[in-house]
């Protein structure tokens, strides 16, 4: 499972970096989204991967999973969601005001 999670984070990050380097605003926003997915999974995995264990005190639990990364991920998801929405609106505004969707606002040949 560790290998699978690491692979997913790596692929998401690589796709995100590639898309962020594109010249059009929509791929850039998609790239930012992929990067925030990757970082959310990464934060979650930093609490170590534990199966079927409660995060808070339970009387009959044999062990616990770390609750802190889950709280961190929750915060990061909310912030990332708000930021992506903002970037998307800004990209639309730039498309309307500059007349094209190039990140520099000029339609390069």
């Amino acid at each position: 499972m560790e290998f699978l999670i690491a692979l997913i984070i790596g692929v998401l990050t690589a796709s995100g970096v590639y898309l962020v380097l594109r010249a059009r605003t929509f791929p850039v926003v998609l790239g930012l989204t992929f990067l925030s997915y990757a970082v959310n999974l990464f934060l979650f995995a930093m609490g170590r991967l534990t199966l079927g264990q409660p995060p808070v005190i339970a009387p009959n639990a044999s062990g616990y999973t770390d609750p802190v990364p889950q709280a961190l991920v929750l915060t990061a998801i909310v912030i990332g969601f708000a930021m992506t929405a903002f970037a998307l609106v800004l990209a639309l505004k730039a498309r309307a005001e500059l007349g094209n969707d190039h990140v520099d606002g000029e339609n390069a040949p």
Partner: protein
Amino acid sequence: MNPLVIAPALLPLLAAILLLLLRHPNLRLRRWVSLVAVLGQVGLALALMAAVSAGDILVYALGHWPAPFGIVLVADRLTAWMLVITSLLALFALLYAIRGDDATGRHFHILFQLQLFGLNGAFLTGDLFNLFVFFEILLLASYGLLLHGGGRERTRAGLHFVVINLLGSTLFLFAVGTLYGVLGALNMADLAVKVAATPAENVALVRAAGLLLFGVFALKAALLPFYLWLPAAYTHTSAAVAALFAIMTKVGAYSILRVYTLIFGANAGPAADLIEPWLLPLALATLIIGMLGAVASTGLRQQTAYLVVASVGSLLAAFGLTSSAGIAAGLYYLPHTTFAAAALFLLADVIARQRDSVGDRLALGPALADSRRLGGLFLITAVAVAGLPPLSGFLGKFLTLRAALAHPQWPWVMGAVLTAGLLSLIALARTGSLLFYRADPNLEVPGTPSNGIGELVPIIGLLLLGLGLTVGAGPLFDQARAIAEQMWQPQLYIQAVLNPGGSP
């Protein structure tokens, strides 16, 4: 627990909520609420400064959860110093904004207060993840402020600013996640203890995370490879916002100072003095590149933006000397450069509006209607920015150079700082002579006259603060030295947070 510690963060948040609820169309009412809130922050910051002046480190545990389990806010001398600078800068930026900049959109004052909430919170927090959250708050507010009023150029510059900062936030989370995964801590004091005791097999990971974090802070501070977002963003936003943003790069510098003296400082064992080989060369290169940009600028606002880049360079060069005297010199230089850059941004706006279509471009334009008054102010501001005697910029540079003498690389520091001073002199002298001595003879009509002395009040106020820094240099530098000494003893901070009231 002293409620004074949390008050500077709470007041702007509550003011923003109040402003959000005031859906009254009356702009004057919103201006008064905003102004009273900022005045309150000046008072709170000064009160906090008095409370920590004896060297106490005040800790406020949110919800009474003790560190390292809960989130703590920590106020020491450095925090109070930064809060005072921020609130004074905000006061004058707001005084300028209420003369018209805030009327171009509906949410200026809300965003302004939220920006202050983020800034004050970032200075107060004692938790690394919480620092990320406050960074996001101040950035989200800054996106709104930057784009406030709209326009093509502003949107284009805003897009770059937003995307690069979102990438920075992602890197911040990767770094924080790695530190938590290896050390199991987020509280800065707790991290400091755990970094020093890192087992050998994890040292590489901790060092990688620490350097990744440095990359993020360098992005916020606009250090050399990452400064490209700054000139366009600061050039195209409104003057009051650009003036307030003069403190934004200093948040990055503050974070570098805090994290790399406390967590990765001299006592950090295997990760000690992590960024020492990087900080000084990068800072000196930033200083020179920023000044070259200022010389090559085509507009006064662009020139000011490049001067902000250069000022970050000299500030971090002082911090990068890794000595108590260097940090003290940097801390004395910090308020000076913040106020001087803000004054120049505001002045550039006043001048641009009097030159009609030529604006702030460095080209021949109509003769200014009140060139004596503006020219006098420009001269004083330029002397302050370029660091000439007798104003505080000179003292800051002198103190930096004196601290540099003890550093093995002192010829490089001397050479870079003095070259940069010469370049800034050339750039500002050229700008001044072009703006005030030469006018286009084909333009018979003088430029639009100013709308009164009122719009000059915030500029004069900022310059008077600079004058205060010069006149009160003795006690203020003593204060800066006291801050540096406190930064140099991170065990005091660690003990105050992790073991409140206990014996060392």
